[in-house]
Symmetry: C2
Subunit: 437 residues, 2 copies
């Protein structure tokens, strides 16, 4: 006898039991249907690509995490996000696409990082992006949070806040103060405010050449509170001549004005000047999304506007905007926090149970009739006792059971039992679909 | 300026433009909904697994084709089918699953074979399997072709034949004749019948020790024609004492009797004694499915019964039965043969077009109302001429366009145009969903 191999999967890979998979798929389907409702087209790029194509831009951390290997003469990599494949796709098929090109892709990506709780090496990203040729209207900057709003509204995991900023506001403000090159350092330092206090933050800012006066101004600017309209007014009231700043503030006001027209509730979005996102990548509006009751989850949907998607592949200027939901992580965290409620244990609406071999033909015909009416139907074929058969229905929480024995067969009927209420009735085979429907 | 990288993908990988992707996804969805209608549960296993787990059984060709690589200390492989991951999953989660365990998985698998027309290195397999503990009722052998029947009926690519055989019939027949060890060689030789003729086949069979008399009997047996009932009668009339043979014939009769009860048309299935499938794997009923008008495509859905799914991982005996559709290959071949018809170019039902910036607010509100009613709606945001805007609608073949200018805005309406008929009407925003729906 051969030695057995222990059946196991790698750490950092999520695999679900059927009922959890059903719940995961429901979330996937909700996101997908909202994406489609906003006019996005489906995309499905290869998981394996040429390393030089996939890594045209990458470097540092990304390159270390990537699953990269040789096969024959080819240096190959597994995609680590869906944005680089999008850039490659758009550059490659530019002449065949309709612009503005709106696409969604909801597929697995791979990052070989050190596995830790809630971090995954293989995970679903659910992305939408819009790509324009040469220019892309500012309304798209409002459409993105409108999509986020509809997705999280329909996912129904409680209140959430879409935090919005504009990189031009940040860039302009810090340029005006003479710290254009230290934006990242300064924002990271300010991020520690709650943890280490204002005094310590001011001290650390001094290390980047930020004097006390400037530090005060920066902290007041970044930390300003108030409603969206109050914040916009405060931004406009700033004594800043920088043109980029002014442009950024005007964009922010315009985007928020559009956003209201999309029917997004005021309580669901908030200007937040601390948000920067990928510093070398985003150039305009940026987003993060927080579940209000679970701030420790971090952002569950992020993105923003970028000037030139395909610069590593083509000279054509293709600006875009996009957002991404890390579905695997979101699912995992919601589950861990007990926010998912009970999952349906199967997709089946009715289990037909033949009482003995003689009733099998009638059972098969009853099941065929139900399926013909579009009702997900299972039949218990195994030659077991009634207890076993009912156990199957119970463990899968199938809402209806249709029992067919000799008596029921004789009158072309089934004894249909509502498993929740316990109610049961003799129902004609041809009336079962309507009864159960 | 950095050098540009040529945007391209590997040969043997399928990537689709949006309208083709929509069509592919429709096929995917049809298969999925039939699988669910028969009570199968969703499964989604990792793409990357430990090599020793994935290759517990494999050998020969499979091992050569596999994408296998080292990452850190781990020897990893990409799955090359969905059956081995199923076996691993069932062995691993045995105590948490409800048996008979019916699952579907419709995901990508990877085989690094030499790329050639119509062969893919990354492709979707759409599998269903049922796994029992210790035993699995024969009705499942009929459920599989019933599922195949419903899938191909709904895919609607013309008539098809589900060819069925039973390995016990073959094994028993050849054992009786004393050729139990040469079944594979003999069947492969017989397979050349049409190409090289009976005389040449008989010559080649002699190489495997098959005398002329035996060859005649084998050819008559394998090549027998007739209806399913005639073939069953002929099999039963054979003068063969072998018990396995008798069991196989009885199974075949029983399965076909069940199959009729599933509502499967007689013309859609046929006993075919030439079908053997994976010789070291299948142990009972086996299937292949041919599109009658495109025999050159080969089998588009195959599978069968196996005695012990998880033998490499556990001592428990878990018999099963399953089928698989190679969707990527099927899609590609249907497309090549012009069988797919026109694909919808987008999933969007209505494009809202604001005439100028002043109408944008009304356009956004109209779109929000349509989306609220579940209608996929896009808005043309770009500041372009009317011609450009209509071109977008035309290229994406969006069925309705709703134009909103100052006049329409003033009366809370849109000029809704049916793009196919050319008909247009002024419709109140709140009545648009019903008008377009």
């Amino acid at each position: 006898m051969k030695n057995k191999v222990t059946p196991k999967i790698l750490p950092g890979f999520l695999e679900l039991l059927p009922e959890d998979q059903i719940q995961f798929n429901q979330m996937y389907q909700t996101i997908k249907s909202v994406y489609e409702r906003f006019g996005f087209l489906p995309q499905d790029t290869p998981i394996i690509e040429y390393s030089d194509v996939l890594l045209a831009k990458a470097g540092g951390e990304t390159e270390k995490q990537i699953y990269r290997f040789q096969k024959g003469d080819n240096d190959l990599s597994l995609r680590f996000d869906l944005t680089v494949p999008l850039a490659r796709y758009v550059a490659q098929h530019c002449n065949e696409l309709v612009f503005p090109f709106k696409r969604y892709q909801m597929n697995k990506v791979f990052r070989g990082e050190r596995p830790q709780k809630g971090r995954f090496r293989e995970f679903y990203q659910c992305d939408i992006d819009v790509i324009g040729v040469d220019s892309l209207d500012l309304v798209f900057d409002a459409e993105m949070p409108a999509v986020i709003y509809n997705v999280f509204k329909e996912l129904n995991f409680g209140s959430f806040t879409i935090r919005m900023n504009n990189r031009k506001v940040l860039n302009g403000f810090f340029s005006e103060l003479g710290f254009a090159d230290s934006i990242g350092d300064i924002l990271r330092t300010i991020d520690k405010l709650e943890k280490i206090g204002e005094e310590k933050v001011t001290e650390e800012l001094a290390e980047f050449g930020v004097q006390e006066d400037a530090a005060k101004r920066i902290l007041a600017f970044i930390g300003a509170g108030g409603s969206n309209d109050e914040l916009l007014a405060a931004l406009e009231a700033q004594d800043i001549a920088n043109e980029t700043y002014k442009e950024g503030v005007a964009e922010l006001r315009q985007v928020i004005s559009y956003l209201r027209r999309f029917g997004v509730e005021e309580s669901a979005f908030a200007i937040d000047l601390t948000i920067a996102r990928g510093l070398d990548y985003y150039t305009g509006t940026v987003y993060e999304t927080m579940l209000n009751d679970y701030p420790s989850m971090g952002s569950v949907c992020s993105g923003g506007r970028y000037d030139n998607l395909t610069e590593y592949y083509t000279d054509q200027k293709l600006p875009g905007i996009g957002i991404s939901i890390g579905l695997t992580r979101l699912y995992y965290q919601l589950k861990e926090n007990g926010l998912l409620g009970n999952a349906p244990k199967s997709l089946t609406r009715c289990l037909v149970i033949p009482m003995g071999e003689d009733a099998m033909d009638a059972a098969l015909e009853a099941a065929a009739a139900l399926r013909g009416a579009g009702i997900n139907t299972d039949v218990y074929y195994q030659n077991k006792g009634m207890k076993q058969k009912m156990k199957y229905a119970n463990r899968l929480a199938i809402p209806y059971v249709a029992i067919i024995g000799e008596d029921e067969k004789a009158v072309g009927s089934a004894m249909v039992k509502n498993m929740e209420s316990g109610e049961q009735s003799l129902v004609k085979i041809e009336e079962m679909a309507a009864y159960i429907g």
